[in-house]
Amino acid sequence: MRLFLMALGMLFTTLVLLGVAGFLVFAERRVLGFLQNRLGPNRLGPLGIGQALADALKLMSKENFVPDFADPVLYRAAPVLVAFSALASFAVVPLDHHFSWAGNWNIGLLFILAMSSLNAYGVFLGGWASGNKFSLLGAVRAVAQLVSYELPMGLALLGVVLLSGSLSLNGIVAAQNLPYIVLQPLGFVIFLIAGVAETHRLPFDLPEAESELVAGFNTEYGGMRFGYFFLGEYLGLTLIAVLTALLYLGGWHGPWLPGWIWLLIKTAAVIFVFFWLRATLPRPRYDQLMALGWKVLLPLALFNVLATALAAALWRLA
């Protein structure tokens, strides 16, 4: 009985997350429109919200096509891997103090980093298995991007871990009497930049790069397989936003309102920042992204870790 209820709950969580991803696609188009002097999709349903449903139906009703020149197994596996890794990461994300699947897990943050690496595998395999030059270029870029942002991101998170003394997300939020954005401003900025790169979103959407690589790693994908990639991207965006809210903005801490509402508000604000960045900034060349990662973010992140460690050690001595 308990197992059944748990399965039901997990199904419900997954469905809610899929709904969130679908809604975000619509919300992004709408917000982007407003930021660019347009209206965005506003035809179907109140405020055009039916567009999310229409897009989902369109993707689901398309043919499940596998090109002859693609590696059939990897081509099918890659989108699932992307969507799965993004969904699985949410297991350790708490909505409130006692409201999560595995919020107390003592390697929660590590699990999320591992899953994000798995996500990169999905993108890389998808591009490689497609057997298309543009896809391969996108995949190569995804890997090049991965090695340049993952290290600064991990180091930026290390600052948070040093301060809170915990790897579980519950523990980290509980340790924030003061939101860590105050104590870790540098780490916050590095995490945000690395997060944009992690989710392959503009200005760092080099693996996709519609204006250069057709559609990058998902050039050969269509229908629901493309939908999985899409889902993975928007779930990844949600994950990074929720992580930013949990790790740096104080999670569910806040006056008057219930904790989970505070978390949702903070997450929505971070997601808006992502949309805002997309509406504003052009895409750099990918050697520029790598230069930024290796020559700027990595030394800054290292400095951040050392300074945090020193400050924490002195704090304990005093």
């Binding site: 407003f34 930021l35 660019q36 002097n37 347009r38 209206l39 506003n42 805002w276 504003t280």
Partner: protein, 176 residues
């Protein structure tokens, strides 16, 4: 320091896009009316003068000047010897809305008004006959009548004092 300049430029860019929030250049056309310019060239129509007579005198100038040869008409004559079009036919599947017919018309009969959104299923439906072209109004020139004149000033009479003459209009007031 170029680093600080770059960061401040990032901030300026972000501020620029944020200021656009809530503004829009889009006109939701079928729901919101379009604001067409006064000299918009829409579908040509035949207008009447202020007294209700057809302005067209079937001089064929519009038909002659039309670059796509889409205007065709036959002239008739009224008992009072004034000419009028017996038939007047415009093929709108060929019309390019250039407005040359309007410029050529000596009596300001043919005018391009603001109708622009019309579509048909068949090309044949685009051939408009005179009944569909002739409107009851005066179009862009509400007071103009080709036959209404004020004559010339002579020794013992001023402009507009002879038989069938009207007082002259103020030329500064009827500019388009």
């Amino acid at each position: 320091m170029s680093v600080w300049r770059n960061i401040s430029e990032l901030g300026a860019g972000l501020w620029t896009t944020l200021r656009q929030l809530g503004r829009t250049s889009t006109v939701s056309y079928p729901e919101e009316p379009l604001n067409l310019p006064p000299r918009w060239r829409g579908r040509p129509v035949l207008t009447r003068d202020p007294d209700g007579d057809e302005r067209c005198v079937a001089c064929q100038l519009c038909s002659a000047v039309c670059p796509t040869r889409c205007i065709e008409l036959q002239a008739g004559e009224r008992p009072d010897t004034r000419r009028y079009p017996l038939t007047f036919r415009i093929n709108f599947s060929r019309c390019i809305y250039c407005g040359l017919c309007e410029e050529a018309c000596p009596t300001l009969a043919i005018q391009l008004l603001d109708e622009f959104a019309f579509s048909k299923e068949h090309h044949a439906d685009f051939i408009y006959e005179k009944e569909a072209l002739l409107i009851d109004g005066t179009g862009k020139h509400p007071h103009y009548n080709f036959y209404r004149h004020s004559g010339v000033a002579l020794q013992d009479k001023d402009k507009g004092e002879g038989i069938n003459e009207k007082t002259p209009v103020n030329v500064r007031s009827n500019l388009p």
